[in-house]
Subunit: 288 residues, 2 copies
């Protein structure tokens, strides 16, 4: 692989940013990589682990000469950092991100006049552990990465970001940003909200002295696995993708009420309609 | 361990019944074990795998001389089979079960006049695989088994069933049957209903052509893991424990509406209340 970028600045060298640095350098797609962050410890770890060539806590100062900037901080921080990046990078510098919500970033980039060179991206990868310590070069193997370019985005910029992710082993899919945000509201944000509410509801019951903890098994634990997810990150996602999340919650609630009515009426056929739809979709995603 | 029963009849030699047979015999708690079922193939497998000493498809005929009967068929079938067991066993034969709903079995046993010798039990163990082929002697190691005796239950009968499960490596907890059913409605039946509805809702969205499958990640898969669970079993549980399930669903819905309102209002503090309650309860059950 010919190098796609000589100087790359990755803002946020956590699990995703650190893994992209490691993977892109290993593949030869990225030459010199600068890791930028606020926390010295995490940056030092990223440097010591060989994820990046250089580190900095000064975003504006590190951007000089960059031909690729990857925003890999929390999604709300990335929205704010876009202005600094737009101001301190040249016309030939491609800017991308890794956030799980795309419309606010695309809108912000457009408002800042960098729509042609901003390529919004969302790698569908992650893990329970976070920080540079959890980063690994094979994190994106076989994973889907969604790009949400629009007519204003330069084809060469899209091509560069696509080739970068392909070099990291990912499968790239292009979608409309709004369609992306509506889809992840269902596939990612809705399960997250369900896990929060399941665990919170059980916690309230337990607080009434029902000794529920003893009766918690593997089913509860898997369904509520996400209940300990980072609150700050999810508060930001709920703010940035609120409309789509509310719509997804309401479509869930319609099915929920249907199931509830079936149980109340003892209508086994109606119950089985929901169950068979559930099994069918789960089979489809398991078989992928 | 001194043998607790010389002739044990286990009705249903699937994952639970087969594992109990294997575990109880290995521990020396059960001497001769007869596996009873309707399907010849599964019984042959149980016999060939050494889970049981003898098999039969004739429940009534196998009960002669039994001093312990374990109902390990689907929970609705167990309710129906209790009459045959009550009729064909003597006063000294202890009857127990392994169903995940307890009140209907206790009520049926009482109506059949065997309340003193029926010990309702619920081992909190299971697995994705089913049938005798999935049975294993260590399935109950460290698992909780709930017994729900009442004042009518003879102490010796409770003691026998308790010692059997302890011999199998389980930790025995006694609860009131109605309290058990209300608790599992939250810890087991509620997550199951959420998984069904999450997967069904996503399936309906996907059917509208939104290409959701590509955006399904690990979070969705875990939250919806139970979506392919056995429909017949869950239809029976929904029927037998409908009241408690509806109440648990409604308490979930109250939290769900609270979260929805917080997102709609952009009220991060209210959102964080639910998130922190969720994290706190999940931490408690993870730390157990």
């Amino acid at each position: 692989v010919t190098a796609l970028a000589r100087r790359t600045v990755i803002v946020g060298t956590g699990l995703i940013g650190g893994s992209l640095a490691a993977s892109g350098r290993r593949a030869g797609a990225l030459e010199h990589v600068v890791g930028v962050g606020r926390g010295r410890d995490n940056l030092d770890h990223a440097r010591a682990a060989g994820l990046v060539d250089e580190t900095s806590t000064d975003l504006a100062g590190s951007l000089d000469g960059a031909d690729l900037v990857v925003l890999a901080a929390p999604v709300d921080a990335c929205c704010e950092l876009l202005e600094t990046v737009a101001t301190h990078t040249g016309e030939r510098c491609v800017v991308t991100d890794v956030g799980s919500v795309k419309v606010p970033l695309v809108e912000r980039a457009t408002a800042l006049g960098i729509a042609s060179r901003f390529v919004a991206a969302h790698p569908m990868a992650g893990g329970v552990d976070t920080g540079a310590a959890a980063a690994r070069a094979d994190l994106f193997d076989e994973r889907v990465v969604v790009l949400t370019p629009n007519p204003a985005t330069a084809a060469e910029a899209v091509g560069l970001v696509r080739r970068l992710w392909e070099a990291c082993g990912a499968r790239v899919v292009e979608m409309d940003a709004a369609a992306h945000d509506a889809a992840v509201a269902v596939t990612s944000h809705l399960p997250q909200m369900l896990a929060f509410c399941l665990s919170a509801a059980a916690g309230r019951d337990a607080a009434r002295g029902e000794h529920l903890e003893e009766l918690v098994g593997a089913g509860f634990k898997d369904t509520a696995r996400l209940a300990r997810s980072d609150a700050a990150m999810w508060a930001a996602i709920a703010r940035l993708n609120g409309g789509s999340i509310l719509a997804a919650m309401d479509r869930f609630s319609a099915v929920w009420q249907e199931l509830r009515a079936a149980i109340e009426a003892g209508d086994e056929q109606a119950l089985r309609v929901v169950m068979s739809e559930a099994a069918a979709f789960k089979s489809r995603v398991d078989d992928r």
